[in-house]
Structures are given as structure tokens and as C-alpha cells.
């Protein structure tokens, strides 16, 4: 697998906007961003409404994912290109999710919505929504080799790579959430003992594009992460760590990397588990 199999630039997307076998999908933290404007012919997936179980804290199941993609007009053999705001945090989360359910060809738009906007590329009005005929999408069983659960994290303390991708202030316990959100969470601050703090942002340039594979490899080496070992990445709710998972698993080709989507909102609320405060 090469970088271009999973990452495309804006010129590539521009050239494929009318390709019926390429489906551009916007996934944003701000789920109303699509309503303001979006890339022409892009469909929307709402990470909260479409991808989460409405009752339990978990994903939609296999049948739910099949129903979602069928309704969006996405076929199993389509090339799906994901993009979004926040430096592709939620687009990366959706990418991981598509892989979890076994979609063949899924890619990220490098730099996402921000790079597209900073380059002053065209966006269409939010009301201009493409009509795609429904499909009969078939998902695979969830590939849990990509997903870590809380017991995996506890078992990894001191023995596997734990990469905490939150900002240094969240890692040390000074903040409970990213600084654009009110700090109202009630769970304990801090991090999983033995975790390395390598913020997701170190993977990206200011414009949201990913750094080169050479720069990324050097980053993890300099931080003392032995990529030959199993690795679990986590953040607050699993979206920023999906971006780091994308870097390690998809760009750098490390197969033994999992994303812990329960992340700090789960771990920091568990009774009796060890927590560390302070910086690395």
C-alpha cells in the first residue's frame, strides 16, 4: 500500500468531482458545516447521528452501517474520499470506521476542508445536494484488530506503546477537553500510566496536510516509540487518535496499531484504574 492509495490532494478530488465511482463525503465535528457550503457533489455523514448507536455508547452495528451507506448511495466498489474540518479529525475517524467495516477503497483529502478553503477553491451552497441512487451495500464484520477496548489499554500499561495524542495540557491534566470546548467534563484529568504524549498535531502541517512519511517516521523515532511493538492510540473520544492511527497504520504501514475509541472520556471515568498526572 502506498501513500497515494489512501491520501489524495485537492487537484485529484477536483478532477474526480463528476466521476460516478468516486464518492466525496464530508464528515465534520460541526455537523452543520455541510449546510453552509461543501465541495460540489459531496454527500454528508453525520458522525454523531449516523455513526453512533442512538442509545448505547457504541457504533452503529454492521446492519446499521450497511443501511447508512446504502441510503447514501455508496457502493462496495466505490472509491470513497473523506474530508472535513478540524484538520480532518472526524474524517479520519470515519476513515477508520470504514476500514473497521471493511470498505475496500477509502481515502482522505489531504488538508481537508481547511486546506480547500485556504486555497480559495470553490464550494457550493449547502442546499445543493447530489442525488445518488440507493445501493445495496454489504459491510464486513467489524475488524476488531483495529479497535482497542478498555481492557486492552489496561493490559498495555508498561508493556505496549500507548500514544496519547491529546494536547500537552490535556495530557498533564490541566485541561479536560480541547480548548474550543467548554471544560465541563466531570471525569478525572490525566493520562494512562506509561503513555507517551505525542499530540496529533505533530503529524500535520499548519494547513492540515500530513507531513511526509520521512518526517513522520523521524517524529515517532525521536519520541522513543518502537513501532515494531503493538501500539494503542487514544485521545478524548477517539477522533484525534483515529488521525494518528491513520498515520501509523495507513501512511507508515504499521499493522499492529489500534485506536481506542473509548479514550479518555471512558478511561478517565473508570473506577479504580491507575492515572498519572503531569508531563512526560
Amino acid at each position: 500500500m502506498s501513500r497515494s492509495d489512501v491520501l489524495v490532494d485537492a487537484d485529484w478530488v477536483q478532477a474526480h468531482l463528476d466521476d460516478p465511482k468516486v464518492v466525496v463525503v464530508e464528515v465534520d465535528e460541526d455537523t452543520a458545516a455541510y449546510d453552509k457550503n461543501h465541495i460540489r457533489n459531496a454527500v454528508r455523514i453525520d458522525w454523531k447521528k449516523d455513526l453512533q448507536d442512538p442509545v448505547r455508547r457504541d457504533f452503529v452495528d454492521q446492519a446499521g452501517f450497511e443501511a447508512l451507506l446504502s441510503a447514501k448511495g455508496i457502493a462496495n466498489d466505490d472509491t470513497v474520499v473523506l474530508y472535513g474540518g478540524n484538520n480532518n479529525w472526524f474524517a479520519s475517524y470515519a476513515f477508520w470506521y470504514f476500514k473497521l467495516y471493511g470498505h475496500g477503497d477509502v481515502r482522505l483529502l489531504d488538508g481537508g476542508r481547511k486546506k480547500w478553503e485556504l486555497d480559495s477553491r470553490d464550494l457550493v451552497d449547502g442546499a445543493e445536494v447530489p442525488a445518488r441512487a440507493a445501493t445495496e451495500y454489504k459491510a464486513q464484520e467489524q475488524n476488531t484488530s483495529l479497535r482497542a477496548f478498555r481492557d486492552d489499554v489496561l493490559a498495555a500499561i508498561g508493556s505496549k506503546n500507548l500514544v496519547d495524542v491529546r494536547s500537552p495540557d490535556e495530557f498533564s491534566g490541566r485541561l479536560l477537553a480541547p480548548a474550543h470546548l467548554p471544560q465541563e467534563q466531570s471525569q478525572r484529568p490525566g493520562h494512562v500510566p506509561s503513555a507517551r504524549n505525542i499530540p496529533w498535531s505533530k503529524n500535520a502541517n499548519d494547513d492540515g496536510t500530513f507531513k511526509s512519511n520521512e518526517e513522520l517516521t523521524a517524529l515517532y523515532q525521536a519520541e522513543g516509540v518502537d513501532l515494531a511493538q503493538d501500539t494503542i492510540a487514544y485521545c478524548r473520544i477517539g477522533e484525534r487518535s483515529a488521525l494518528t492511527w491513520f498515520v501509523l497504520h495507513q501512511l507508515l504501514g504499521q499493522q499492529n496499531v489500534k485506536n481506542y475509541d473509548g479514550s479518555w472520556t471512558e478511561y478517565g471515568s473508570l473506577v479504580g484504574v491507575p492515572i498519572e498526572l503531569g508531563s512526560n
Binding site: 474540518g85 481547511k114 485556504l118 500537552p168 474550543h180 467548554p182 471544560q183 499530540p199 498535531s201 499548519d206
Partner: protein, 96 residues
């Protein structure tokens, strides 16, 4: 497009006394600019990023201390260093 509004977004419903707020607006020749604003900590590390509103405004919920506010707009990047404190709004007007 609405005109630029001075200061940050409306604070209705925000627990101002307990939050450490950094907010402001990004303008060019007095008009709001659509772009992004990122918050960097005292070590220069990324902490958060928001798109500006249609009136050019932005807001962060930070912790007390020194921060850099960086505006990213088409064709320009502008930094402002601020010191924030709990219970107070730190206003950061950025002209690009």
C-alpha cells in the same frame, strides 16, 4: 455577509466565572475574514483550532497562562501572544 463585530461571540449561557476565555475577531480593513484561528500553548504546541464565524469571531476555553493565538486566512498567518486568566475574557482583535 454581515459586518465585523468587535469582541468575541455572545457569552449567553457560558459559565464565565469558571472558564478562562480567549476570544476575539479576525478582520481585514474592518471586514470579517473567513479563516481559522488556532491556539498554541506556552511551548508553541497546538491546543485547539476553530473556524471564524460569519462575523469573523472566535472563542477558546483555555487555562490560565500564556498562549499564542494564530490566525490562518487565505494568504496570511498572524500571531498574537496573550495572557489569559480564569473568570476574565481575554479579547484578541486580529487585523490581517
Amino acid at each position: 455577509m454581515c459586518g465585523a463585530k468587535a469582541g468575541g461571540p455572545d457569552l449567553a449561557g457560558v459559565d464565565v466565572a469558571n472558564e478562562t476565555i480567549i476570544q476575539g475577531s479576525v478582520t481585514r480593513d474592518g471586514e470579517p475574514v473567513n479563516g481559522y484561528v488556532r491556539l498554541l500553548d506556552a511551548g508553541g504546541e497546538f491546543t485547539a483550532e476553530v473556524p471564524t464565524s460569519s462575523t469573523g469571531q472566535f472563542r477558546f476555553f483555555a487555562a490560565p497562562g500564556k498562549w499564542t493565538v494564530r490566525a490562518l486566512v487565505p494568504g496570511a498567518t498572524v500571531d498574537r501572544v496573550v495572557v489569559a486568566s480564569q473568570g476574565a475574557q481575554t479579547e484578541v482583535p486580529i487585523a490581517v
